[in-house]
Amino acid sequence: MAGNIIEVDHLKHEYGDFRAVDDICFYVEKGEIFSFLGPNGAGKSTVINILTTLLPLQEGSVKIAGYDLKTQPEQVRRSIGIVFQDETLDRDLTVWETLEFHGRLYSMPKEKRRERIKEMIKLVELEDKKDVRTRNLSGGMKRRLEIARGLMTRPGVLFLDEPTIGLDTQTRIRMWEYIQKVNETGTTIFLTTHYMDEADQVSDWIDIIDRGKIIASGEPEGLKSALGRDMIYLETGDDESALRFLQTLPVVNDVKRLDKGLLITISRDGTHCLPLIMARLKDQGIEITGVNLKKPTLDDVFVHFTGREIRESGADKFRKMVARR
């Protein structure tokens, strides 16, 4: 199963004189789940739109499933399926008609179309909504229907632009189970998301994109360990002096100030380092009011590479975790 199903070389895209995609290169191996991770406006959807032939290829070269995007767009379209970021359902068609229309667009033979529609409707649990117009579905149901539609043709590559946005946790989990199952049958998945935990759990490979550039790339574990081993969150009586002091310690890789407290990345096992660091701070006369030790997440990876939170709520989430313990 070796080989690349997507090859992107020096891709650039400009809207007017705004450069949304800035000379990026990446490869997606056949059969893997590949994630594009990045904040709002990073250029994720732009890349997907180019790869799915919706935007013209301005500069660079792209190959999908062995076909050149520039010269063989028709074959590329046959090889891919897409779930768009925002709703693209015809509100006046029923669930069944939506899928029927899609199957016809891809010239699926009638027998196969009918069979696949039934299977898909069952999968996303819309059996009792089969004849309901999509305008009368809830947001989550619409999303499920769109996912079913993208999967229906069993494409070689499935593009998912923020597929689980707006789904409840239960449905999200089930959707991922299914997407993984589809992946196991050989469909390559190209995913964009800003749910770090999802990308972390399902991806074989992650590219982090920010302001149109790929700033980090690797397996989830590799990306996380690039940060150092563990992370310590500290709240002190005097963050300013604590920061200055911590930076002088050899075991400390990096210290960042959060809105409240400090985030320290260390190069050794935190279980043993933490008591030492706390003792040294106490020696400096700095009072410690809160502490937490954790393994790095992709959120932290993102902060590390960009110096920014991927979502505003990132730090709050961390503090909530602290509070719960």
């Binding site: 739109n49 799915t52 032939t53 919706l54 935007l55 013209p56 028709e74 379209r77 046959r78 891919i80 897409i82 768009f84 925002d86 709703e87 693209t88 359902l89 015809d90 006046d92 068609l93 008609e97 229309f101 899609h102 016809r104 667009l105 891809y106 010239s107 539609r149």
Partner: protein, 278 residues
């Protein structure tokens, strides 16, 4: 497969029949128009028409009958010019992304929308004709059943070719517009000269030369010629003017409409080729 346009056609018809209100108003409106405008104007025109002498043995038709053909033509024009608007909505709602990213050739979209528009036009024309016959439009006078059937077929073919030309144009405009308001503006701008420089509602024989020249370039003129030829005959008097059509006139009218449709298809194809939807 070359039948891929059937997918687009299927969805468009599904929507058309689903919106009962739209369906009914699109069928009732032209009939009402014929009834109200026809009733209001025909007494006027007939009075001044009958003052003019008609040669012995010649066919003279009432204004309502004369107008009937014009209403068929104008209704087809309006319906067709707005027929592409669903593409604009689909584009703005993001629905076209699904289609543009699929293997469906873009020509199939143009043809699918075109044919569904033609279907709507034909339905309308059938309703107008039936209604017209009810309120006293004298079509197919003295025709045998066979001749009537042929005449209806002739009218529908003319309507179809005319309609698909304007649907291609409408699709092309819709694809290059951002808002429905913009589309409405462009279409209004287009309809005014088409409407006035045509023989749909009144004879243009007495109009200035440039208007008549304009009418030679107006597809509406050729449609009206075709409809009158099939519905009324090749030689008749109306509102004091003499109308006669040779077979050659009708063949030329048909070819003019076909040429118009072909050119509009090429325009639409070009616009669709460079269109992006995101």
């Amino acid at each position: 497969m070359a039948l891929e346009f059937a997918t687009i056609y299927w969805r468009d018809m599904l929507r058309f029949f689903r919106f009962r209100a739209l369906l009914i108003s699109s069928l009732v409106q032209p009939a009402l128009w014929l009834a109200l405008y026809g009733a209001a104007m025909s007494s006027n025109f007939s009075r001044f028409g009958s003052a003019l002498p008609v040669p012995e043995g010649a066919v003279s038709v009432s204004y309502l009958t004369f107008l009937g053909a014009g209403v068929i033509a104008l209704t087809t024009l309006f319906t067709s010019l707005f027929g592409g608007i669903s593409l604009l909505f689909d584009k703005n709602w993001g629905l076209l992304r699904e289609v543009f990213a699929s293997p469906l050739p873009r020509n199939s979209i143009i043809i699918g929308i075109g044919l569904s528009g033609v279907t709507k036009s034909i339905l309308q024309v059938l309703v107008i004709m039936s209604f017209g016959l009810l309120i006293g439009v004298k079509f197919f006078q003295g025709y045998s059943i066979m001749e009537t059937a042929l005449a209806i077929a002739g009218i529908l073919i003319f309507v179809g070719v005319f309609s698909i030309g304007f649907l291609f144009l409408s699709s092309a405009i819709s694809m290059s517009m951002e808002t429905p308001e913009g589309l409405q503006g462009v279409i209004t701008l287009l309809t005014l000269p088409l409407f006035f420089a045509s023989n749909a509602l009144y004879p243009i024989e007495a109009f200035p030369d440039f208007v008549r020249l304009l009418s030679m370039l107006n597809p509406l003129t050729y449609l009206v010629n075709g409809v009158r030829y099939f519905a009324i005959g090749d030689d008749f008097y109306a509102i004091g003017y003499h109308y006669s059509y040779t077979t050659m006139d009708i063949v030329i009218s048909f070819l003019a409409l076909a040429a118009f449709a072909l050119v509009m298809f090429l325009v639409a194809r070009w616009i669709f080729k460079k269109a992006t939807v995101t």
